[in-house]
């Protein structure tokens, strides 16, 4: 679900970048970047299930 939300957010940022105000697109970009890094850190702190 978190990835669906992230891809949806990027789609919205692209549409704002194309149709809307530049400043709003920059702000939304920052939100998406922070959210993607937070998602990465969430997964990076999971217990590893290594395949060997």
């Amino acid at each position: 679900m978190e990835f669906t939300a992230l891809f949806l957010a990027v789609t919205i940022v692209m549409l704002v970048a194309w149709f809307g105000r530049r400043s709003l697109a920059l702000a939304l970009f920052a939100v998406v970047l922070v959210a993607s890094v937070a998602t990465y850190l969430h997964h990076a702190t999971d217990a590893l299930k290594l395949s060997f």
């Binding site: 679900m1 891809f7 990027v10 970048a17 990465y40 997964h43 299930k49």
Partner: protein
């Protein structure tokens, strides 16, 4: 480098991102291999990388737009490096099928590293940033507009794909079925 040429190169970079997303989809559908959460994060970072070029096509080249893409590329490189390191020990078969000898996350790392170098190279050319009132009033051409919409469409397809794959809960570490298509 003129402003018009820089916009053409930005449009080309959008086609390159579209190609990456299309190949990822092809592997997912043809080989029936579902992307893992880290794989999805790398795919996401390629779409975030495309926001800078979209802004460059729409508003004209600016250093801040290239900076956005640089930030996205550095994050993507960090994500893919982690996955490379997870499978680096001898005896580990890696995740998914290899393409031309490398797994997708290795190709992603190469792609993000190449993006960082190319973005830095683009920033070397100052003439593209000169303000041109006449050019700013001109709408982007069909080549660039098609590139923008192609990337937006492929990103929107990922919304549908991840919803089918993960459903309304957290995505599985090693997904083998589409959660919303399970019977």
């Amino acid at each position: 480098m003129t402003r018009a040429f820089a916009i053409t190169l930005n449009a080309l970079s959008l086609y390159a991102v579209a190609l990456v997303l299309a190949v990822a989809f092809a592997a997912q559908l043809v080989l029936r291999e579902l992307p893992c959460p880290l794989c999805l994060l790398q795919r996401l970072q390629f779409t975030v990388l495309a926001i800078g070029p979209v802004l460059n096509v729409r508003f004209g080249p600016r250093p801040s737009h290239y900076a956005l893409s640089l930030l996205a590329a550095v994050a993507g490189a960090a994500f893919s490096t982690r996955q490379v390191l997870l499978h680096i020990l001898p005896g580990d078969a890696g995740y998914g099928t290899a393409l031309f000898g490398y797994h997708y996350y290795t190709w992603a790392l190469i792609g993000f590293a190449a993006a960082i170098v190319l973005l830095a190279a683009m920033l070397l050319f100052d003439r593209q940033f000169e303000r041109d009132a006449a050019a700013e009033q001109t709408a982007p051409g069909a080549f660039a507009t098609t590139a923008v919409w192609l990337v937006i469409a492929l990103t929107a397809l990922n919304v549908v794909s991840t919803l089918l794959e993960c459903g309304f809960g957290a995505c599985a570490d090693n997904p083998v079925v589409y959660e919303l298509l399970k019977r």
